[in-house]
């Protein structure tokens, strides 16, 4: 009798210990999650409150004059630079992704894949430095929309290529086989079957690429330059403003108006980036 009781008591002591340590473990995991979530919420909240209080109609209708005024020129510039980067990045990125997915199961494919991932890992300031020496000075483009957009494109292309590859690979082989069986040409299969079926993934990639471009600063400082004025349509020899420049420069100015503009710009950039990211996750999420 007593022996059985003892075993039971020991067991339950051990069990208690295990249960307690499990509970502590879960608690720590929850705490860890909070350590990620709370700073994000604080960041979003701080920037939303500070930024929203600087919002006004004139913020969107006038351009900055030194450290006061609005953000029109910067908003337009960010749009020009990031959409401009897509002009270069989409054909190359999607094309490369198609190659990797459809024909890249060979040595060349894996070399391209490795170097593409290496390019993704290249620090953005190194790209900016490269573009400054080659395009801005070497080709004489000066600070310009073209130099900025191409630099952003170099960053976005490898992302886009790999996301395209991944989404096209998900298209079932049977679809390709069926199309070929119907006598379709390779090119028709690639565009009309594979790319069409993988389109949601590719569009996701393009949108994420856009989000990356909108949020970048370091590669633009020495390529796009900065301008107080609305972009006048010139691709070279004309600097162009952008929102992230406002954030990084104006927060260092000892003026309230400059700080307000920096937070307003941060809020705009954050809204665009978060909206794109939440959008693609909610609408285009292929994961089940």
């Amino acid at each position: 009798m007593s022996a059985t009781f003892d075993v039971k008591a020991r067991r339950s002591a051990l069990e208690t210990k295990r249960i307690v340590s499990s509970a502590v473990g879960w608690g720590l995991c929850g705490l860890a999650f909070l350590l990620v979530a709370v700073p994000l919420l604080d960041l979003v909240l701080t920037i939303t409150i500070k930024g929203a209080s600087a919002f006004s109609i004139s913020l969107f209708t006038t351009s900055s004059n030194g450290v006061t005024g609005g953000l029109l020129a910067a908003i337009v510039g960010t749009a020009v630079l990031s959409l401009g980067s897509l002009v270069f990045a989409v054909p190359i990125g999607v094309g490369a992704g198609m190659y990797l997915s459809e024909y890249g199961q060979n040595r060349l494919g894996s070399v391209i894949r490795f170097l593409s991932d290496t390019l993704t890992g290249m620090p953005s300031i190194v790209l900016g430095y490269f573009s400054y020496i080659t395009m801005v000075i070497g080709l004489g483009w000066q600070f310009s929309a073209l130099a900025g957009a191409i630099t952003l494109a170099i960053m976005v292309v490898p992302y886009l290529a790999r996301i395209t590859e991944l989404s096209l690979q998900r298209v079932p082989v049977q679809m390709r086989e069926a199309a070929y069986a119907l006598g379709a040409q390779e090119r028709t299969v690639a565009f009309k079957v594979v790319l069409a079926a993988g389109a949601p993934g590719v569009i996701t990639g393009v949108l994420l690429g856009l989000a990356i471009s909108v949020g970048e600063t370091a590669p633009l400082i020495y390529t796009a330059g900065w301008s107080n004025y609305l972009w006048n349509g010139k691709l070279t020899n004309q600097p162009i403003g952008y929102l992230t420049y406002v954030i990084w420069t104006f927060i260092n100015q000892p003026y309230k108006s400059a700080h307000a503009l920096a937070f307003a710009a941060a809020l705009l950039v954050m809204l665009v980036v978060l909206a794109i990211n939440i959008g693609v996750r909610v609408v285009l999420r292929p994961r089940t």
């Binding site: 473990g25 705490l31 990620v36 991932d117 190194v126 790999r162 991944l166 600063t217």
Partner: protein
């Protein structure tokens, strides 16, 4: 038939040549950097990596020939302080990020209720997409004052007997190693956490079931059964995060304090990282009429590239098949 074969080849050829643009541009960039830095590599030699003093020399006196190269008097380019700043801040970031990321991943995958899990995991993913300049802004406005007024004195009170953790050994501004490490930790935690989260979700159900059948608590299932199976993925995620931290520019530049010519003696001391230094010094370096300063910056870019290349290559070797871009 023949015509079709020809067109087909043309199509493939076009796609191939487009795909080749990516490696070619990478090679152009690297070759350009190497060629541009060549003179600096010759002038600096191994001292480049081993000395602390970065000096453009006297730009207002006529350049002299030193070690066979035309450079300003007193020019000396040592980047040890920036290498140390880069490694310290990144390692500090890893030190913070690793436990937090593991905890977060376990929480998301095992503890979060199914209904809110997608929302919570998205929240973590979103941390990774916040632009780094916005992190920098938050660092200047929120984090640095927090460190200066609360965290710093707190750490000093608890660990102050170790000189490295004593704020009184530094000057006590919030900008420095700790601020840089914290911001970087925030940026890489989601990378590690989501990699691990995905792996945990893929652990086969029967593995868990057999552990539960043996009487393990759920937490024990996670720590003793599941974690060992995803170890490799975790290491891969860590190395990917490290790669990101090493190359980060804006956020670090904004909170690191911009130290020059000294190694940090405390966790509160200002630092500079290689990426941030390139950005902040390019203008100054362009002033050097001999161009040696700009070329030495190119050499920093090269060193940074080699380090990140190494880290990314290691990551890829560990996580075979996984890709840098997260599969959304």
């Amino acid at each position: 038939m023949k015509r079709q074969a020809k067109r087909l080849n043309l199509f493939r050829l076009t796609l191939t040549s487009i795909a080749i643009v990516i490696p070619v541009s990478l090679i152009i960039i690297v070759v350009f950097l190497g060629q541009y830095a060549w003179q600096a590599i010759g002038f600096n030699g191994i001292r480049f990596l081993g000395t602390i003093d970065w000096s453009l020399g006297n730009l207002y006196m006529n350049p002299v020939v030193t070690r066979g190269y035309q450079v300003p008097i007193g020019a000396d380019y040592g980047i040890l302080a920036f290498i140390v700043g880069t490694l310290f801040s990144s390692l500090l970031a890893l030190l913070f990020a690793l436990p937090v990321a593991v905890g977060t991943a376990i929480f998301l995958s095992e503890a979060a209720p199914d209904r809110v899990r997608p929302v919570l995991s998205m929240l973590v993913e979103l941390v990774a997409v916040v632009p780094s300049v916005v992190f920098g802004l938050w660092g200047i406005y929120v984090l640095a004052p927090l460190i200066s007024h609360y965290i710093g004195p707190g750490i000093t009170a608890v660990l102050g007997f170790i000189p490295f953790f004593n704020m009184n050994n530094s000057t006590g501004s919030g900008f420095g190693l700790l601020a840089a490490g914290t911001v970087l930790a925030l940026m890489i935690t989601p990378i590690i956490a989501t990699t691990l989260y995905d792996a945990l979700r893929q652990v086969p159900l029967d593995l868990r079931e057999s552990a539960v059948a043996l009487g393990a608590t759920r937490f024990e299932v996670v720590t003793k059964i599941m974690m060992p199976t995803v170890r490799i993925t975790l290491i891969g995620g860590v190395v990917l995060g490290l790669g990101r931290a090493l190359g980060e520019t804006m956020a670090v530049l904004m909170v690191s304090g911009g130290a020059l010519n000294y190694l940090p003696k405390t966790i509160f001391t200002p630092i500079s990282t290689m990426a941030a230094f390139i950005l902040s010094q390019l203008d100054s370096a362009l002033q050097d009429p001999t161009n040696m300063a700009v070329k030495s910056l190119a050499e920093i870019a090269l060193v940074l590239f080699v380090i990140t290349l190494g880290v990314n290559a290691v990551a890829r070797m560990i996580v075979r098949g996984a890709t840098f871009v997260r599969n959304i």
